[in-house]
Symmetry: C2
Subunit: 164 residues, 2 copies
DNA sequence: AAGTATTTGCAATTAAGTTGCATTCATGAT
DNA sequence: ATCATGAATGCAACTTAATTGCAAATACTT
């Protein structure tokens, strides 16, 4: 109950098996479990969250979850939210759940979905008093740089350059 | 040479000893070295970057750098940029270097500073063809949630909630 | 110069995420 | 229905960013 803005994912409309069929991914029990977990969740989940939810019903390995999420990302089934604490969270990517920003508590790691906002809503949102304190905004665009697009083997250089 | 937009930090105007004095932080050789390194850098640096640059001149421990950066963050001397790979980068926070977005290559980790943009510039920027491929935009606001503000000892719960 | 609170260094630890390889399994052809 | 095969999984070990506790060293105050 942190904000009045509402953000319903409505992912109940999505079907795990159907999605795997469409994206030509093998329908393994593990993939179905991970996808079902994400579909039925109203909030983004970390790998540990997913493991905890699934392990009560079936056996699944941490590495498998990582690999499943990687394949889901590749197919555009899920979005990854990288938080300030270096832990990734995952949410279903469908037309019922458009891209939006998140608030993450740097103390307990709690992650809050924020509504997609128009410009006027954004102003209203930022100026409204609320009961959490934002002290940092991270906007990072991730992708492939020119050099890596060409060579695709600069995996460990970690150079930093300016765009001047 | 990735973008035509220019983004000069101009932090040469800043003085390490003066900054430490102003913020009432002990002027230790380690703090001066870390601050000098950040002031003279035109790009954000990781802890490893900072270590590599300093260790040629003086002995300094990794943990010390982490703690120095934490104290600098607390005083508002530096900003932390959390990247998609879970590695934090640090840049001087002064009026010559206003808040801006970053592009980070998910393959080599390269970090690019993007200009602070107006709304019209943003449109122009996003629609312009460029030589890196953005496949993901992370916008995360970090801070302290209501619960942690009250108790300040929920450090390991990592709950996730929605803002509905 | 002495006392004190702060800072540093070291060693050990935590935890997210990755890699290699052997085993198991889903799928499509027979 | 069975089989062959490429794909997915599980396990163990590893990598690495970041943190913690504590003793030793150091910067500031008087």
């Amino acid at each position: 109950m942190i904000e009045k803005l509402t953000m319903k994912t409505n992912t109940e409309h999505c079907d795990a098996r159907e999605t795997l069929e469409k994206t030509s991914l093998y329908k393994t029990p593990q993939r179905i479990a991970v996808l079902d977990t994400l579909i039925s969740s109203s909030v983004p989940l970390s790998v540990n969250d997913i493991l905890k939810k699934i392990c009560t019903q079936q056996k699944i390995n941490k590495v498998t979850v990582y690999r499943i999420l990687t394949s889901f990302k590749g197919k555009g089934i899920v979005r990854e939210i990288e938080t300030a604490r270096g832990i990734s969270y995952y949410e279903i990517s469908c037309h019922h759940n458009p891209v939006h920003a998140h608030f993450s508590c740097r103390h307990c790691g709690m992650l809050v979905c924020l509504d997609p906002l128009t410009v006027s809503q954004t102003w209203e949102w930022f100026t409204r008093p609320r009961n959490f304190t934002i002290d940092h905004i991270t906007i990072t665009m991730t992708g492939t740089c020119h050099q890596c697009e060409g060579t695709l083997n600069c995996n460990s250089t970690a150079d930093v350059v300016n765009n001047t």
